[in-house]
Amino acid sequence: MSEPHISPAITPAERLRRRRNAERRFKLYGQIAICTAIGFLAILLLSIGFKASSAFSRHMVELSLEQTEFSAASDVKVTDVNLAVRDRLLEIFPEAATDRAHRADLFAITTRLAVLPLRDRLRAKRDTSDMPVTARLALSDDLDLYLKNDIRRHQSAIIGDAGRLSRTESGLYRLTDAGPDGFVSFQDQVQAMQDAPQDILISLADAWFELREVSGAVLVLSHLAGPLPTLGEQSSAPISATYLNSLSENRRVSLRQIAILLHLLDRGDVSRRFNTSLFTNADSTYPELAGAAAALIGSLFTMLVTALFALPVGVLAAVYLEEFARKSRLTSIIEVNINNLAAVPSIIFGLLGAAVFLNAFGLPRSVPLVGGLVLGLLVLPTIIIASRAALRSVPPSVRDAALGLGASPTQTVFHHVLPLAAPGILTGAIIAMARALGETAPLLLIGMVAFISEVPSAPNDEATVLPVLIYKWFSGAERAWEPMTAAVIILLLTALVTMNLVAVILRRRFERRW
């Protein structure tokens, strides 16, 4: 095929050269193919790992609350704690007390339910000593993302040594520089940025302002957050400008919230910590409070049901087909059937579950019991095929010896063949369970996508599983879901890799060559 007809013009040496080139090219195609496949694997893992890395930590704001706020510690309500948190925030930002919009921005830095762990802690400790309690609250997802990513784009520069602040009638502030050149160079800079406008924050001592206008030696500012220095006096603190490199229209965080964050950061009240709620919390509508605990437990229950159903049935079926079944029409039908069943798309098993378990048997939706049974049916052929292979690898001499010593066929199988095949069967079973653990589509059809905010405590409680949680979080609208989804994927992949490693180790350790 490579040389259909040889034209006389080609010399033998030239022909040899062409054939060698063809050989080299062919080998190269193979290398490219392998590199493509493995490159895709690497890109996939790296991109997901990269996305997930930010979700394993989160920013928390630390506030110390006066305990006297709560009357009866055993019955603290979310609202009580929230009120205390808001009081404390207003103490830090007194300027917000009078302005509704300002207050709304301030209170939105954490969600209402962020105080749940604190409430539980307060309820648990009965004695209400009047020590202040430290509240560590998760920042809202948008702020958290801002601190993780966008804050890196901030650039600050000192634009003046000292200034004098005065208030205008319209509620704005005028800042005049005591230095010789006023804000002339700063004004030039702002002018130069006319083409790509961006928000600029001005800080003086602890206060943060939004820059409204620059005119010569005077800056017109509006106050955003932080205590104001004394008006009219020459302040000795330097004036600095922070360039945000973004505009409010393109941000999900308001300018005032950024100022609040910056002030809290200056105070040392915001810290980045390991995201424990990812492992301890159930699902939530707020990304910063959501966790995979419920799905983890749900996966565990589902796998338990799957294993309890599919392992015994699969292994016993394999024993029957391999050791007991006589060659008959029925057994050959069963064999063909099992091979075909292994290649049926998984979603068909979901349809089976919906029609038979839910509709005909009336079992409840969204429970691990039904999910486990559906997955059990799904992996049954895989387990049967793997177990048969393991049973087949036990040499006939073992059977002959047992039978020759007077054991019955049942005794032969259960006392000798099955124990010898056990490592192989177990390896196949673990790989099948790993497949069940990653399966999503059939579970969607039996309602395991429901929003579950509580960790399930039994196989017939409503629950969801890890892959379905990935799908659900992926569909979430907020940007913060993406890293969270990637983090759950990492969790799932870790579980799968562990299972596969156990299978490999089992095979290495117990495999016998006959």
Binding site: T36, Y471, L496
Partner: protein, 473 residues
Amino acid sequence: MLETLGHLPIGWLLIAPLAAAGFFAFYSGRTQIGALSIGSSISARLHSQPNYHGYFLTFCTVLPVAVVFGLYLLFADSFARGTLLSELPDYLTQRGEAQIAFFMDRVSEHAQAQTSAPTGNTLFDASVERFATLIGLARAVAFGSAIIAGTLGFRWGRKQLSRDFAARNYVERTITALLFICAAIAILTTIGIVLSLIFETVRFFSLPGGPGVFEFLFGTNWNAQTGQDFGAVPLFFGTLMIALLAMLVAVPVGLFSAIYLSEYASPKFRNWAKPALELLAGIPTVVYGFFAATLIAPLVRGSAQWINGLPFTPDTLLAAQPTSALAAGLVMGVMIIPFVSSLSDDVISAVPQVLRDGALAMGATRSEMIKQVVLPAAFPGIVAAILLAVSRAIGETMIVVMAAGGRALITLDPSSDITTVTYQIVSLLTGDTAFDSARTVSAFALGFVLFGITLLFNIIALRVVQRYREAYE
């Protein structure tokens, strides 16, 4: 009393007595036969070992009890519902089936919850109480008959035990029957799939507002979510298009990987690269879906926009949607690579070494040997592998759900979003409980088509593989 019994969780109530009775029967059987043979050499006198007598007695006791419990599980709920229904006031029972079923579900849910506070609705609370009592009654009857059946079985079994009794034969026969039942479950699954799909599909086509078979298979308008248009051609088209895109990636990469690994690679490289390829097969499809939607789909969109922006192309040449057929197809192709490569590797390795040696001895280079001897010899097997891979691509769900979009379009533009059979099944059946609307049932008709096509592909592929194997063995 009955009401409390009705409220209890049932799982442990069934399993614990069964296990206890089984253990008791086993030990009593073993000691009884042990006592018979005291003072003599056991193995010389007994037909079966004492353990087998124990197992025999266990089966005699447990099987009748299990049958009774099984009957309870099958009939208790419908008994309680039926009785309660006949006692409900007429104005409730005339409300239509769906309403009554909903009412009953809530009643049964409340009756099963042990700490349910009264709702305040007198009729509802009374129904819950009555339901719990009825279930309690059914349970009492079940336990009573279970005790009787178990005792009778136990006593009958004990009478059989003797020195010459062939307990082992009976036990082994029971075990074999049990093994057969396990093997039959696989058949039952298939029967269950086929029956449920056929049943619902027939229902779909006989629904008053539903379409005819012809309209379903050849109609080009699909709008199942809101309207009543059930022409599935756009779905079939989308499925095939994405499968084709996937195969364009998977077949060359998979095939060349297999050739390289089996003919060129050193054993060391092979040991390292093969598991890496198989790792691709172990990644859950939902992860591929996430990868496709968050990394590949934006890339596809960006390139499509770039092509649109080129000076010599019209600005609206490509749709450049955020989810696209190409993104789903590419990633699905990556997912299928290990499938193609490991199956092809098997068939290529199965080509006898003699053929290779012959070709090389004639002076062929390696690539000539592969192209002119190995591949033609392995051709049927490779075709089978590709067929299996196509059937896999057609049935794949999560990647298309997450990255392909949901618009039922017939378009050759790979950057446009497009829908597939599996996508529609998921979107039609997610979060819906009612099985009586054309919308939900249409998912089963789609499932039927999907099942039929993949089954056809699998059967052909398995046949080819089998023939091929026979040819060389």
